[in-house]
Symmetry: C2
Subunit: 141 residues, 2 copies
């Protein structure tokens, strides 16, 4: 079983795309994250690690990866676009957002997942889905 990063790089090649420094850097950075990151965080993370990528390339790469279904776009309503690797099954999760501090954390719930599968099937619609639960996190309570 290949890692997500090698899988992503292979998929890029198969799509007829080249592997420039920016794409490699973004894929490598994302593969080390366990939950979603904003484009700025990704950019800063790469730069502060000694990399040299432009913001534009980060956005372009994320868009490309999203089109290939290699990353999942996550929107929690704070005006930032976040992205995370679209891994198979075991890493699949959804998000809790704290209305007070804005913190985003992942959660999983198997029954919910099954209900989603069935709903999507019934509607003949979705391959990707996103669930956002809002409330007050432990720290803020």
């Amino acid at each position: 079983m290949a890692t997500w990063s090698s899988e992503a790089l292979t998929a890029l090649r198969e799509a007829g795309l080249r592997q420039g420094g920016a794409r490699r850097a973004v894929v490598e950075y994302l593969s080390r994250q366990d939950c979603c990151r904003s484009a700025q965080e990704i950019h800063d993370g790469i730069v502060s690690a000694g990399g040299a990528v432009g913001v534009a390339s980060v956005y372009r790469t994320l868009e490309t990866l999203a089109e290939l279904r290699l990353v999942q776009r996550v929107d929690v309503g704070d005006g930032l676009a976040r992205f995370e690797p679209a891994r198979e099954d075991e890493h699949h999760h959804h998000h809790l957002v704290c209305d007070d501090c804005g913190r985003v954390e992942p959660f999983t719930d198997e029954p919910l997942e099954q209900a989603l599968e069935r709903a999507a099937g019934r509607l003949g619609y979705a391959m990707q889905h996103e669930v956002v639960l809002r409330g007050t996190c432990g720290d803020c309570r």
Copy 2:
């Protein structure tokens, strides 16, 4: 059983807020919608119907209404904030987003709703939730 608009206006008054032209126009416009609308759409809708509201007032009113839990903010990941009346039970729904044309349409699914309730309870977390399913809509297929 009161309509959503009169309910919303009452809630505004009870919160010690006045009912200016802008607030009334936004509430009235929203009450006639069956699914979410962006702030721009709301503004344009009111203006093209002969109303005279500033964009700033639309945003301010939406924020106020959201704080009072009278409107639900919906984020489908296209960089626009959408809003819809937060009605009780029967009108509660989630959203399907077409990856091709970007169209947003509502759907309901009772089993999914129950799974959400249980998941939220287990996590001790959420009062509000939002589900977005992505795929290709009938027209684009």
